[in-house]
């Protein structure tokens, strides 16, 4: 953890590392602790925590580290600040109405997902989701270690000699 995150309230710090195990080793990718949190996120811990929780609920991959969610969401805090701030406030209100606590403090993923289902047709939700669907899945660092997708291949001569037809169907 970096210095500034140590100054955060304890509950938030726990929240921010909720992916825990994923933080240091994601699918075999070693990450330096310093790269976990983009600078803006440290400056805006509330919004960052909310966005992160939301991102992980929208596209939950338990083994992928927080930073891969946070980094692509970062530009939204500049480009759509009001939308994000108001959206998260609204989400918290809904969470308090239903569960008596903030969205991020609702422990069950299915409960949080119910809250998100209510707002999924809104601009706020779709902006976050639309940003993440590219930002998360268009990250070459995750492709092979996490999804088994090998990315650009022409520079290695394609797969003609590297397994385009190597499958043996032995399960039938």
């Amino acid at each position: 953890m970096t210095t500034s995150s140590r100054t955060m309230p304890l509950s938030r710090r726990r929240f921010l590392t909720l992916s825990g195990q994923g933080a240091l080793v994601a699918g075999g990718l070693a990450l330096s602790a310093g790269s976990l949190w983009p600078r803006w996120a440290l400056a805006d811990p509330d919004l960052a925590a909310g966005l992160l929780r939301m991102g992980r609920d929208i596209y939950p991959h338990d083994a992928i580290a927080d930073t891969y969610y946070l980094t692509p969401l970062e530009p939204l805090l500049n480009s759509h600040r009001a939308l994000i701030a108001e959206g998260l406030a609204d989400l918290n209100r809904r969470a308090r109405d239903t569960y008596g606590k903030d969205y991020g403090d609702v422990t069950e993923e299915t409960d949080r997902a119910m809250l998100l289902r209510e707002i999924e047709d809104g601009d706020f939700f779709q902006t976050v989701r639309g940003t993440l669907v590219v930002g998360l899945y268009d990250n070459p660092e995750l492709w092979e270690p996490y999804f088994g997708y090998q990315g650009s291949s022409w520079q290695r001569g394609g797969y003609l000699y590297r397994g385009f037809d190597d499958l043996v169907i032995d399960w039938l």
């Binding site: 609920d57 929208i58 596209y59 939950p60 991959h61 993923e109 997902a113 998100l116 289902r117 999924e120 047709d121 939700f125 779709q126 989701r129 669907v133 590219v134 998360l136 899945y137 268009d138 492709w143 999804f147 088994g148 997708y149 090998q150 990315g151 650009s152 291949s153 022409w154 001569g157 394609g158 797969y159 003609l160 590297r162 397994g163 385009f164 037809d165 190597d166 499958l167 169907i169 399960w171 039938l172």
Partner: protein, 526 residues
Amino acid sequence: MATRFDYDDDSVVVIIGSGAGGGTLAHALAKKGINSVVLEAGKRYQMNDIENDEWEMFKKISWLDERITAGPRQLTDTFPGLPAWIVKAVGGSTIHWAGVSLRFQPHEFRSHSELGDIAGANLLDWPISYEDLEPYYVKAERHMGVTGDSTGMPYHQWNNNFKVLAAGAERIGYTQLRSGPMAINTEQYDERGRCMQAGFCMQGCRFGAKWSTMYTDIPRAEASGYCEVRPRSMALTIEHDDKGRATAVVYADGDGNRHRQRARAVCVAGNSIESPRLLLNSHSSLFPDGLANSSGQVGRNYMTHATSCIFGVMPKPVHMHRGTTFAGIISDEARLDRSRGFAGGYTLEVMSLGVPFFAKFMDPSNAGWGRDITTALDKYDHLSGVWICGEDLAVEKNGVTLHDTKKDQHGLPVPIVYKGDHPNDVALRRHGEQQATKCYEAAGAERVFQVPDFPTSHNVGTNRMSARPADGVVNQWGQTHDIDNLFISDGSQFTSSGAENPTLTIVALALRQADHIAERMQRQEI
């Protein structure tokens, strides 16, 4: 080289668009010594601009000018500004097409005679038969380098993705399983190398193994000295004289400057949204409803194929991303057999997507998020996919119209692209989805799911061929019924969509049209 024709040179054929139709035509005319100027809205790219990167290539080469998706279909919600997936570049959509090169079946040229009147559909026979087109299919196959009899090139080795689908298909009794015909070299052909099974066919072929006018027809036409290609040149209107003959094309260059290129004949090949749009935008006092539109059929009968995607999660890694994107074809359901509860047929084509596109397309609806989605993505390397390419029926109200107020960067009305399913399309698609699901279940899939339509790749029918001028826009040569020296040279000529991918037929028609134009010119008729 670098031939340059004068703006006032009215001896040239002006071709609009450099894709499958336009690029082929320019080259075929050049071989006959006929001068042409190709106006292409997009830029020119080099081989090293082609990257194995889905989003990069999408951003780089797609037609992203404003369009409006309309009609009772999911795409209206999911891709409101991107009804179709079309390339804007020298080479057009042949840069990112996947190479599947099937001929239409004979009966598909006789839609109305075979199917009769179907309520809500606007069926019509083509004015040509399969037999008329057959010699040009052979020429097109040799021209493009299609694996199979015409070239003698063997079909591809089956890749993993196809092996999986085929295992299931055979178990449910299908027998017509092939890894071709594909316009993708399996050996050196046409001075181009063989396929390296790199994947990414739909991002452009870095090796040039797949046919594309980008690196075949266009540079060869230019090298002949009979053709000038002007990239970043967007045709705005086609002009005519008071006798109603086309005289010139007005276009905007990359800096927004307008030019008028005079013409002996004009051939429109901007794909099925831009071609009718250009005719509609060229309205005049003589032709108040747009050029060549006395039938009122310009922009109508838009067909996209009834499509759907089915993916299966297999017990072991498949690595569908390895090898050609569309690697295999199953034709058992392509026949006409109304006992299945629908007219027309469909082809099952094995396909793959990379992680970026799969994540985006798997369920683009607002509700397409959560564990249902990510558990499939977690199994990305275990996936196998198939695309259903089904005949959709011509429906008059499906088509391209102009927006009343919205204008593009050139000041032209934005096109509204309307498409709804005919009940027959719905029945056909459902049947295809069921059969594809059975295939994957028979292959041992742990989970099978459906991926909804993405922006349409096959766009045809909006300037259709007809024997009678009242029923369509062009005659059997692609020549407009109304204007002798105005031709349509792309897939918008199609009278029916067939159960097959369109490009081979577009190329065959363009080669046939080139012969016709040359003859007519020789006879001084145009």
